[in-house]
């Protein structure tokens, strides 16, 4: 799976000169791409101090906070987009953070590794061990992932919560996956509102 492809898709989605809040922005790579290509007003929240240094070196505005309680300060709909890319599965209370993201952002971009990827299924089935894949390259004892969800889990959840999925793209090893994404995609990316 290519991270660049995911970034390309998000960059394609995000509108020119919009405001973007990236939750768990890491070293700020995605945000700086968005600033460069889409001239967005960017803001990041990140829990790792080292990552903050990288963001600041890239000229980004970033807050050293925990996103689980870092959104309370923002007014409703204060960003055009809130991004939850590859962080969603690592937070203690994803439901609460998604609710907050939907409150603060007009649209929310959600991207996460698909646990129902066929290779994961095969590894569990044949090896009897927790799967290790390129989108989830960790062992059970060192994974930052707290929640394991599939593309269908997420779409089910959105249906129950009446969250509107505006767009979705599924990414596999060699690009976009259109056929049976819950089986063949390593990553799902959605815009919800």
């Amino acid at each position: 799976m290519s991270e660049n492809l995911a970034y390309k898709i998000i960059t394609y989605w995000v509108e020119e000169k919009s405001s973007v809040l990236d939750l768990g922005c890491g070293d700020g790579e995605l945000l700086s791409i968005l600033v460069e290509r889409k001239n967005v007003k960017a803001m990041g929240i990140e829990i790792s101090e080292q990552a903050i240094y990288s963001c600041v070196a890239k000229g980004l505005s970033v807050l050293h906070e925990n996103i689980e309680h870092g959104l309370t300060g923002y007014a409703d709909k204060s960003f055009d987009y809130v991004i939850l890319y590859n962080t969603f599965q690592e937070i203690k209370n994803p439901a609460a953070v998604l609710d907050e993201a939907l409150r603060v952002g007009k649209k929310v971009v959600v991207g996460f590794p698909n646990f129902a990827y066929y290779k994961s299924r095969l590894q569990i089935f044949f090896n009897g061990r927790v799967p290790v894949t390129s989108s989830m390259p960790f062992q059970w004892y060192n994974t930052p992932n707290l929640h394991f969800l599939s593309i269908l889990d997420f779409t089910d959840y959105c249906n129950i919560k009446k969250i509107k999925i505006e767009k979705s793209v599924f990414i596999g090893k060699s690009g976009q996956v259109k056929f049976l994404p819950n089986l063949f995609a390593e990553m799902g990316i959605f815009i919800v509102s």
Binding site: I52, V56, G59, L63, H64, E65, Y74
Partner: protein, 370 residues
């Protein structure tokens, strides 16, 4: 002298007739001591104002003639440093109420021809900044590239934001707060009581007669405890003692005792006791927005902020910096915040040079280019 020092510097003095204070009193014949480093560019757009903490002064960088000790923030100011004097014009002034060249309680009262003592009016952080604005106007600077400082310096930074938002392009408040907490007021008060209970204080009229050495040194000792952390004290002193066996006497024998005594003793040689009272009072009175909501005051703010705090700082804990962050969020102000993982306690703002340099350097590059 090290290669990246600003070198030999001297304190300059700026005089003006009158400053109207928050207390409505008029302070006459005011002097502001200041130092400058680097060159002001043609557009006058590269000026940085450095704000000192409680016992600091205008001598922030370089060396004075015949002195070996460099300025108090020499690690951060100089060619190639965080505040790069090859690029920026750096100004630092002594606060009014101080005793390092600016008008304060030890200055001569023009009305009586004697030192003010307690006739000196109560001053506030806003008054300090009001005086600095006059200096900045005098230097012909319309807009400061940044205002930066830690602790009380950070309060002045925030005061600039409220008093003169159009005159600042960015702000760097470090290890600071929008208002003193009861705990912070309590420590200030213990310090003041130590000074005032010294018989040599003589209700503040000690000039030329005596000096409340014992009281002021105790105040400084208390201060130093609050500037460190449990961990930094354990690392620096442990339970090491100059005596091999426990001695059953009250002379300082633990290293930490000796250190505090040394700090107290050296402080009284360089600082005026009344200034200590006036400035700590200004800190306690500091309440940036009072009854108003902070984010309302920040509304429409164009200046960018870099807010820094330190994990082990229990005198100005991170939650106080996070209140500033929260107001920025609500107001939609452009802010960056980092809680630096340091064990130095409040002193960290003077010691965590590498981290601060990295953050400040990049931040300044960014705000310079806007």
């Amino acid at each position: 002298m090290e290669k990246n020092s600003v070198g030999l510097v001297e304190t300059k003095y700026f005089n003006f007739d009158e400053l109207v204070l928050d207390s409505k009193e008029h302070l006459k014949q005011v002097t502001i001591a200041y130092e400058i480093y680097g060159q002001l560019n043609e557009k006058k757009s590269n000026a940085i104002l450095i704000e000192h903490a409680l016992t600091g002064d205008a001598h922030a960088a370089g060396f004075h003639k015949d002195e070996d000790k460099s300025g108090w923030w020499d690690t951060m100011i100089g060619p190639g440093k965080a505040f790069d004097t090859k690029k920026y014009f750096v100004i630092c002034s002594n606060v009014i109420g101080g005793c390092k060249g600016s008008t304060g309680p030890s200055s001569v009262n023009p009305k009586t021809g004697k030192p003010y003592g307690l006739d000196f009016p109560i001053i506030t952080v806003a008054d300090m900044v009001r005086a600095q604005k006059k200096l900045i106007d005098y230097l012909g600077i319309k807009k400061l590239l940044t205002v930066v400082g830690g602790s009380m310096g950070g309060m002045q930074v925030l005061q600039w934001l409220v008093s003169y938002p159009e005159s600042v392009k960015s702000l760097i408040p470090i290890a600071t707060t929008v208002k003193h907490s009861p705990q912070q007021i309590a420590f200030s008060e213990v310090g003041r009581q130590a000074v005032m209970s010294d018989p040599d204080w003589r209700d503040g009229n000690y000039y030329g007669v005596s000096f409340p050495t014992r009281g002021l040194s105790v105040a400084r000792m208390i201060g130093h405890i609050t500037y460190m952390s449990d961990v930094s004290m354990a690392e620096k002193f442990g339970r090491r003692s100059k005596e091999k066996k426990p001695i059953f006497k009250f002379e300082p024998s633990f290293e930490v005792e000796g250190y505090l005594k040394y700090r107290g003793d050296s402080f009284v040689k360089r600082f005026d006791a009344n200034s200590y009272l006036y400035i700590t009072k200004a800190l306690d009175l500091f309440d940036l927005v009072g009854e108003k909501k902070l984010h309302q005051v920040f509304n429409g703010l164009k200046a960018k902020l870099l807010i820094l705090s330190f994990k082990s700082d229990w005198l100005y804990p991170s939650y106080q910096s996070k209140e500033i962050v929260k107001a920025c969020k609500l107001a939609g102000a452009d802010a960056t915040y980092c809680e630096i993982d340091s064990t130095y306690g409040h002193d960290a703002f003077l010691l965590e040079v590498d981290e601060e340099t990295h953050l400040i350097k990049h931040f300044l590059e960014r705000v310079s280019n806007v």
